[in-house]
């Protein structure tokens, strides 16, 4: 992800952290001043303090591919079905990703699953413009034979008496699933829906309902229609992190250009 630039006559302009020969002119700033400067820059980056992540935090492949695509590193894209979400990014300069909270409520008899996301970490001064709920279709889970219809609802909790239908989608034969092994179903959410949904609580809940579209149709192989919402027994953390439901928010913090304007200059 290194951005290109001129190369100097010596060594690409790399400045070592310490001068090669001691000199009063090259003296390092005192630690207090360095800390102040760093804090200033971090605050400009929208951070209260320097993040200190735990080791080996899994990074969703989608975010990596978004970065690679933005950097025009098309040859590094991992997902062969990746599609740049221009309509989401055109006004956004910040993209955040959230894994669902992990607690899954379901009733297999009703083919209902409730998942929730904690989005309270989005700063107050950041305007969320839109979001995507991404669900993986793979060969590892099964919905049963025949085409199925997925109904997506906004729902505060599993027993919500009035879930709001967001979208209904027919899950037919998935050629991508056969060729690539998996395919992400992405459901778009606009800003108004998001505000209404979490209502200031910082929690966003969805109800997923899967119904057979035509229960008489037994002709297609069930292995082609799968939706990954729960972890397989014995599945490792890394692979589960790449398969679990993902909520992606597109927002603007009021500073700078949207991500879609790659390399745009300001005077």
């Amino acid at each position: 992800g290194r951005q290109g630039g001129e190369s100097s006559e010596t060594d690409n302009g790399r400045v070592p952290p310490t001068p090669s020969s001691p000199s009063p002119a090259a003296a390092l700033p005192d630690p207090g001043l360095a800390q102040t400067i760093q804090s200033l820059l971090l605050s400009r980056l929208g951070l209260q303090s320097q993040p200190n992540p735990r080791p080996d935090v899994p990074v969703p492949e989608y975010l990596l591919d978004l970065y690679r695509f933005h950097q025009q590193q098309y040859h590094l894209l991992e997902d062969p079905t990746f599609s740049f979400p221009s309509h989401h990014i055109q006004q956004a300069n910040t993209i955040r990703s959230f894994h669902h909270s992990g607690k899954l409520e379901s009733k297999t008899t009703r083919n209902l699953v409730h998942i929730s996301f904690n989005i309270s970490s989005i700063p107050q001064d950041e305007t969320v413009l839109s979001a995507e709920l991404r669900l993986l279709r793979s060969q590892a889970a099964s919905l049963g034979p025949g085409p199925h219809r997925l109904n997506l609802y906004l729902s505060k909790h599993y027993e919500d008496p009035e879930p709001m239908l967001l979208e209904t989608r027919l899950l037919t034969s998935c050629l991508h699933c056969i060729k690539a092994g998996s395919f992400w179903e992405a459901f778009s959410l606009n800003a108004d829906l998001l505000r209404k949904a979490h209502g200031g609580t910082g929690s966003l809940g969805f109800l997923l309902e899967v119904r057979p579209e035509n229960s008489d149709n037994q002709s297609e192989q069930h292995q082609e229609r799968h939706l990954r919402v729960s972890r397989s027994v014995g599945q490792d953390d890394h692979s589960w992190a790449q398969e679990r439901p993902l909520l992606v928010t597109y927002s603007h913090d009021g500073h700078g250009e949207p991500l879609v304007k790659h390399g745009r200059r300001t005077s």
Partner: protein
């Protein structure tokens, strides 16, 4: 051993030729500052500043910096403001008035992929991180 390089006594002097100064040493910077105002390479490695633990990508980037003199007369390609032209003219007749400054005239953003304070992945476009051009 080339005598053409030698001093008056015919001896070879290595003081200016043999020592290769790299990576922005004070002596090199001093030489650069006496040249005309222009953009110079500067690579920021996040590992050097300890940010590699939370910045996933890039590992560093080319930020550049501006350095050099704004001398009379200012050439057209110096990206000089009208005020800088006036100031340089006055400096040429009155040394008490400082020369115009060599500063960035256009900047561009970079995208950073990083982990926030909640271990969540964020992709953000940060403005004014790369010097695209310098001027007086």
């Amino acid at each position: 051993g080339n005598s053409n390089w030698g001093d008056d006594k015919g001896e070879v002097s290595w003081s200016d030729r043999g020592r290769v100064k790299r990576n922005g040493s004070p002596a090199k910077l001093k030489r650069l500052s006496r040249g005309r105002c222009r953009r110079h390479p500067l690579h920021v490695d996040f590992r050097d500043v300890g940010w590699h633990k939370w910045i996933i990508a890039p590992s560093g980037y080319d930020a550049f910096f501006c350095l050099g003199e704004c001398r009379y007369p200012l050439a057209d390609h110096m990206n000089a403001s009208s005020h800088a032209v006036v100031q340089t003219m006055v400096n040429s007749v009155n040394g008490a008035v400082p020369r115009a400054c060599c500063v960035p005239t256009s900047l561009s953003p970079i995208a950073l992929l990083y982990l926030d304070n909640h271990d969540r992945v964020v992709l953000k476009n940060y403005q004014d991180m790369v010097v695209e051009s310098c001027g007086c």
